[in-house]
Amino acid sequence: MTESSAAFVRRDMLPPQAPPATQAGVLKWLRENLFSSPLNAVLTLAGAYVVWWLVAHSYPWLSHSVWNAGSLSECRAIIAERWGADATGACWAVIKERWHQYIFGFYPPELYWRPISVFLLLFVALAPVLFSAVPRVLLVFTVVYPFLATWLLWGGSPWIEVMILVGFVLGWAAFRIASRYGSLLAVSVALAVPALWWVFAAGPMDRALEQAIRLAIEKVASDKFGGFLLAVTIGVGGIAMSLPLGILLALGRRSDMFLIKALSVGFIEFIRGVPLITLLFVASLLLNYFLPPGTNFDIILRVEILVTLFAAAYIAEVVRGGLAALPRGQYEAADSLGLDYWKAQRLIILPQALKISIPGIVSTFIGMFKDTTLVVFVGLFDPLKGISDFVRADFNWKGIYWEPYIFVGCIFFLFNFSMSRYSMYLENKLKRDHR
């Protein structure tokens, strides 16, 4: 027997070595990913059959596309003539003829430049918010944009929008000045100053300015809005307003102050417990009962407000999840450094909580954008049903079915897929746990 000893001393540390080369090749990939077990093989074959079936049925229809025709019957005649009497085919001619109604609704065609520039400027306004590489100065335009867009879309005198904007600026300035003397005072002043401005000063100022400098452009009423113009107006407005409101509600729900907490919980649970359509009916019918007689405030604005409240309740719950996921230590560290509540929230808690909540927030936004099609129930022309029904009411296009839905579906997909991709980009960019 050899002498054994437990003592061992390593003189040289082993250098790392390359891993063994894996056997590459198509066959290996197939075996590992598609046919690794009998069950997997069956599932693979069944899946392949479903894909083949879908393609086999939709391909003839798509390949028999007709782009130039004046009516559905003309389309059918062309298809029958080219591919035989039994052939089916897609009649895209309806999109070619009516695409502008899907995009702009009944907006006057000579004024299309207005929604188009509003849409293009939207990207300028979004750029500094979405991408940190864009110069911060552009944020000024982001603040001005909602007012500019409202003026361009609805027309009329720009001074009303300017007066509203001035009210916000005054409120902000009052807050900055008053915050030296205490936060409660600052908040009350920041609410009182703009309110007083709007009630007493804004009207006369607006009329005086309108007399002095005439900048009014042609008015376009809300019932002229439709299609994606309407969906994007409500969607973007709702997204922009529901995020801050949702964050405040989430903070309110976690607040130590009983009244604020109770109000937040009540609001969130009420809104989430009611279908959106109910709220839209409230917007179109009930809201007028609560307003002084004779006031007629815009249906799009009313819908916008209720869509915002609806989305905010969902955002609040998503953000609350993010807040709850943060370790207590983060709050304690912020406290122990002497940061007050708002500074701690803004600098430490929310940046992390919102990062965790990105997928949920974007899901809510996507859901809300698709839900804008529900405005058809309060008499607005959404792209999916409102405009499609209108197009089908034309004798020429009576009976057309799939093509408008596919077209509208593709555009919705484009918007929503971009949002989803952006959220993935953002998650990646904010990833900090790299080791």
Partner: protein
Amino acid sequence: MTDPHFDRAIDRSQMQVFDEVAIQISAMNKWYGTFHVLRDINLTVNRGERIVIAGPSGSGKSTLIRCINRLEEHQSGKIVVDGTELTSDLKNIDKVRSEVGMVFQHFNLFPHLTILENLTLAPIWVRKVPKREAEETAMYYLEKVKIPEQALKYPGQLSGGQQQRVAIARSLCMKPRIMLFDEPTSALDPEMIKEVLDTMIELAEEGMTMLCVTHEMGFAQAVANRVIFMDQGQIVEQNNPHDFFNNPQSDRTKLFLSQILGH
């Protein structure tokens, strides 16, 4: 008892005279619900004193130091820190918190900010120090804890010991007059404990008022002016480290010391 960590223990031969009171706690009680966590605590900490608080887990030692910057609220008695009494007045609380630094067991660095941003955040937003100046101060303290080269990394990229040193530097950037340590080395690998303790010893040498909850008895022997032993929410014994370790008075203290030093 000798401990290889503490080859450079503080020279206590020329005892300083502590005549200024930094923290005064009198007849303080705290309950969690119906559970009486802290019972009739009376403690005076003089400026420049280094106090180690020891005791079994659940004895209330962490809760005690967390009451000093009001991360925990006490229900009766009085806590005066640097002449400011801690009440529910938010202004006083923020004032005390900006004067008292705290280091946590789990570091609690802000993971979404770089090391440099972690260090400059509170000076900029609480003390209103200009950004440049705050960054200079931050770099000074990072040099001091010997990791200036990590300034632009994120906390997740640093080792535990490095993170804890950053946490100490973050507190120091607020120029606190008192430092609280809540088991600063308990979450660290043995190899990293020394680097954190070295930083703390350096701080002690400069005359910082320190309250430290720790199980590092070697540190207590080398650095503390006073060791406080707590059990069941009460201060059971306090003494200078020499007498505390060599001549403990109460049976509970003797048992505790035999258990942690007896291997």
